[in-house]
Symmetry: C2
Subunit: 212 residues, 2 copies
DNA sequence: AGACCATTAGGCCAAACGACCCATCGAAAT
DNA sequence: ATTTCGATGGGTCGTTTGGCCTAATGGTCT
């Protein structure tokens, strides 16, 4: 789970991005602030691996804030209109990446994973950067979730959309109720939960529920 | 449920806003496009009560698109830096509201509700507008959810974060297990579900789970 | 004052659930 | 070839759950 802090004075953008990142299974937004100083303060109270910083913010832009972050938190700069000058300034301040707000969410998410993994995107050629991002498109699921078998994932997907009764699950999967209970038992163990309600919640959190 | 279409060439913003609005219980984003013409086309295939249009988009700005919408769909304009000139142009084109991207999500959500309800925010004085928005801050919950009592909502909130066992719920709420089961029974009836797993899923969908 | 409702709590009971055993089959890995 | 593992199924047992009914209390609204 990558902890992310967002600094952007456009609340609509910040809150929306926060929601979107929280919907991913491997990122969690731990704070949203609207200025550079507020970001520094927030990071003192609540550590985060990566912060997303708008380059254009009132009261001193984000660049000097990034310079002050040091090693604690990697910074990815987002900008309304990315330019070469901005990239240069961001690089000097120590930012690990710079993206226009016009990129898809998947790209930013990939960048967050890459940067959290120690990569520095800002020094790469566009081609090398794109290859690296491509490799990080897939969310890194929790260890527990990764160990789930295909059949167990099927059961979780049904659970997460409200198919909770044993007999219904058995009907949907064309297996006996006993087999459903066996699968559920091993799901409970792998996810460290104790009943199907908690399993359903975990499934939703892991992004296993396909949106209706 | 208010169907919303988003037109904005900044994908990060559009996707984030989409997620955020979908997380609200009474709005549903039915389409995201990145240009004015694409918006007109999308609305032909998929009706929506309200559309959110960025005023600054490449390939002809959003203003003329709004003029073409007619009565079908109410438009709310969002802008990076709201100005009086932009407001005037948006009004002439028939937009029902204009907001800076710096406003909180709750404000935009309130505006969507007001506009969907037939209000025209753009002709109002700032004071009158704020009063109207204030009145629309609360999401209009589903009929079933609206009838939930405070105690029932408390139970649902706990359910949605994984407190699913009767004895745990009783401990957390300082009531007997019997009372917990009574509350659950009436929750099941009001939400038209049959067990706590489905109730938890519904609670999450209704936005009753406070994010941790 | 009376009506209504949220909150609390109890009893009863059938059904469902979860925990703990075990067994078979086939595919994949070694 | 042997092992491993996923998927399938079975049995048993104690616990939990959900349905249904009743009832006391305290607040609010009319």
């Amino acid at each position: 789970m990558i902890r992310v802090m967002i600094a952007d004075d456009h609340q609509l953008f910040a809150e929306g991005l926060s929601q979107a990142l929280n919907a991913l299974p491997d990122t969690r937004v731990v704070g949203v602030v609207d200025s550079g100083p507020a970001l520094e303060q927030a990071l003192n109270n609540q550590p985060a691996e990566v912060c997303i910083v708008d380059i254009e913010m009132p009261g001193g832009d984000g660049i000097e804030t990034i310079s002050n972050l040091g090693m604690r938190t990697k910074a990815i700069v987002v900008s309304m209109h990315a330019s070469d000058q901005q990239t240069e300034r961001a690089r000097e301040a120590g930012a690990k990446g710079l993206f226009s707000k016009g990129v898809p969410l998947t790209t930013l998410a990939a960048a967050i994973r890459a940067v959290a993994g120690g990569e520095n995107l800002i020094d790469l050629s566009p081609e090398a950067r794109d290859i690296l991002l491509e490799a990080n498109l897939q969310a890194q699921l929790d260890p527990g979730a990764a160990a789930l078998t295909p059949r167990e994932i099927e059961i979780l997907q049904l659970l997460a959309v409200g198919v909770s009764a044993t007999d219904e699950l058995a009907d949907r999967l064309y297996i006996s109720q006993k087999t459903v209970k066996n699968h559920l038992a091993s799901v409970f163990q792998k996810l460290a939960v104790s009943d199907r309600t908690q399993a359903a919640i975990e499934a939703i959190r892991l992004g296993l529920a396909r949106p209706q």
